[in-house]
């Protein structure tokens, strides 16, 4: 059985696509056959983050409309053999997504033997976002440690509870995970940011990880390499931890405590 995971947030710019790219890569690195679908029709980004923008021929809408089959549209990732990307259309709008069409794409992916299907949701609560979460088994709710992001995440959790197939059919609810991204322990210490505990207290769903704020993410995006590939960086380590926790392994939280820079560090600078 393929597990469908939606990466969603409500608010834009919080790190959904970065997270989709890194977690799908992480699952593929663990040996799972993984597909990642960009639902942001009209504003596609995932192909850039994954560095496959020059290989896009067919897209999700072509498949939904029967203009191409899945094998033609799926792009094999350049880093991992088990990972495939289904890009969004840049020229169509979100109304082109139909529930039947999306359901068929997900069914077909399952028949192709995929273990995990990640749906990278667009921001907002409109059609694209609802389509991305409709068939989800699990949801990774990405939130930044600030109030408006938390409020929007809360809204999307409500939509998940009312519009997902699992909710409508009265099955076991979608399994929810909270991922706090762009976290800066120093700014939390200084009282400029909510702590991850505050965020969790407000949203009341299990925490799957905290991703530290880092310049590496921007650099990775520009290179078209998912951040999880950045060897020895805090961000990559944090995402690897998230994937491990997703697979029910125990990992302590890292990068959440603020350590005052020591004397040497202050004297000689350093990151």
């Amino acid at each position: 059985m393929a597990r469908v995971i939606v990466v969603t947030s409500g608010k834009g710019g919080v790190g959904k696509t970065t997270t989709s790219a890194s977690i799908s890569t992480g699952l593929a690195l663990r040996g799972f056959k993984t597909a990642v679908i960009d639902f942001d029709v009209g504003l596609r980004n995932l192909d850039l983050i994954m560095g496959c923008e020059r290989r896009v021929v067919y897209d999700l809408i072509n498949v939904v409309n029967g203009e191409a089959n899945l094998n033609q549209a799926l792009i094999k990732d350049k880093h991992c053999d088990n990972l495939f990307i289904l890009p969004a259309s840049q020229t169509r709008d979100k109304d082109a997504l139909t529930e039947e069409g999306v359901e068929k794409v997900l069914k077909d992916l399952e028949h192709l033997g995929f273990d995990y299907i990640l749906c990278d949701s667009p921001a907002g609560i409109e059609r694209g976002a609802v389509m991305a979460l409709t068939f989800a088994d699990e949801a990774i709710v990405v939130s930044n440690p600030e109030v408006s992001s938390v409020r929007d995440s809360d809204r999307i959790l409500g939509i998940l509870q009312s519009k997902s197939r699992r909710a409508i059919e009265g099955r076991e609810p979608v399994k929810e995970h909270l991922l706090v991204t762009r976290y800066s322990p120093k700014r939390v210490e200084d009282g400029e940011m909510l702590s991850y505990k505050d965020v969790q207290e407000l949203l009341r769903i299990p925490l799957i990880g905290v991703i530290p704020e880092s310049d590496d993410v921007l650099q990775a995006s520009n290179q078209g390499t998912p951040a999880i590939h950045l060897k020895d960086s805090d961000v990559a380590t944090a995402y690897l931890d998230v994937v491990a926790r997703f697979l029910d392994e125990d990992r302590p939280l890292r990068f959440v405590a603020y350590e005052k820079p020591g004397l040497l560090k202050r004297l000689f600078g350093g990151k």
Binding site: R151, D152, D154, R155, L157, G158, I159, Q161, S162, K163, A167, G170, P173, L202, L203, R204
Partner: protein, 277 residues
């Protein structure tokens, strides 16, 4: 094609009783009414969700010379109330009401006189009527934006008790729940931007952070209880309070109850800490 036997019956008449709300109008000046409605319902323009209503003028102080029906009706319709008729209206005003499209009803057409409660059907229903509990007739249900998740509605009473609505997942921003005719119990709290409404009392285990309105049909004895108090707005029977300057220290984040004190026209909202050990 319609059934042959129905050919000759393009219209058919059957007796029916309609449950309507009675609006006791104590003022006919549209401006002052508008102020009062705004105070009562604030930013909820679709509060009545198309509810039909009879305007009762029995409690009108001094009868005015004329009434600007157009203004009054458009005001009520703005809140999605549908006035269908008037009663207890002075004779010299009746013609105006008729011209405004309202039915002028005689006082004898009604049996129920309890303010806020529903008008009961004139002929008793075959089954024993549910006893004193608020009749479940007028649905105030403000069309849910996103209906409560799995709203486990308890079957309407045949034992005379008002149904209690229990919600056992967290209520999220943008969600709205209405417990018609009875109490509402939240087992996992509510988030900012959500709204709960009950005709009876509200019991919230977990954080109360959105808007909570108890006694929505005017029950002044309704209360709001919470184990973690921090709402955006609380209201009981239309008397409301916001917390622009923050939640009082004595109750913020703690157990608290909200109730109305004082008598008829001088109700005040009282928020007190809950003692438990």
């Amino acid at each position: 094609m319609a059934d042959a036997s129905l050919q000759g019956k393009l219209i058919e008449f059957k007796g029916a009783s309609l449950a309507v709300m009675t609006a006791y109008v104590r003022e006919t000046d549209a401006v002052r009414l508008a102020d009062a409605l705004h105070m009562m319902l604030g930013g909820m323009p679709d509060f009545f969700a198309g509810e039909p209503a009879i305007l009762d003028f029995s409690q009108l102080g001094t009868s005015p010379d004329r009434v600007d029906w157009t203004a009054v009706l458009s005001l009520l319709r703005r809140y999605q109330l549908q006035p269908v008729g008037v009663r207890n209206l002075d004779e010299h005003l009746q013609e105006g009401a008729r011209r405004a499209g309202l039915a002028v009803l005689g006082a004898e057409s009604f049996s129920a006189e309890r303010p806020v409660a529903a008008a009961q059907p004139r002929t008793p229903p075959p089954a024993p009527a549910p006893a004193p509990a608020p009749a479940p007739a007028p649905t105030l249900s403000p069309a849910p934006v996103e209906a409560a998740p799995q709203a486990p509605v308890t079957a309407p009473s045949d034992n005379g008790l008002a149904p209690t609505l229990v919600v056992d997942r967290p209520l999220r921003s943008g969600q709205q729940v209405y417990a018609k005719g009875g109490d509402l119990v939240l087992l996992a709290g509510m988030s900012p931007g959500s709204e709960i409404i009950a005709d009876g009392s509200i019991h919230c285990y977990g954080p109360l952070r959105g808007r909570a309105l108890a006694g929505a049909r005017g029950d002044t004895s309704a209360r709001i209880f919470s184990t973690n108090f921090g709402p955006e707005l609380v209201s009981i029977a239309g008397v409301y309070r916001t917390f622009e300057r923050g939640i009082p220290q004595t109750v913020a984040g703690r157990g608290a109850q909200v109730r109305l004190t004082g008598s008829d026209n001088l109700h005040t909202l009282e928020i007190t800490p809950l003692q438990y050990d």
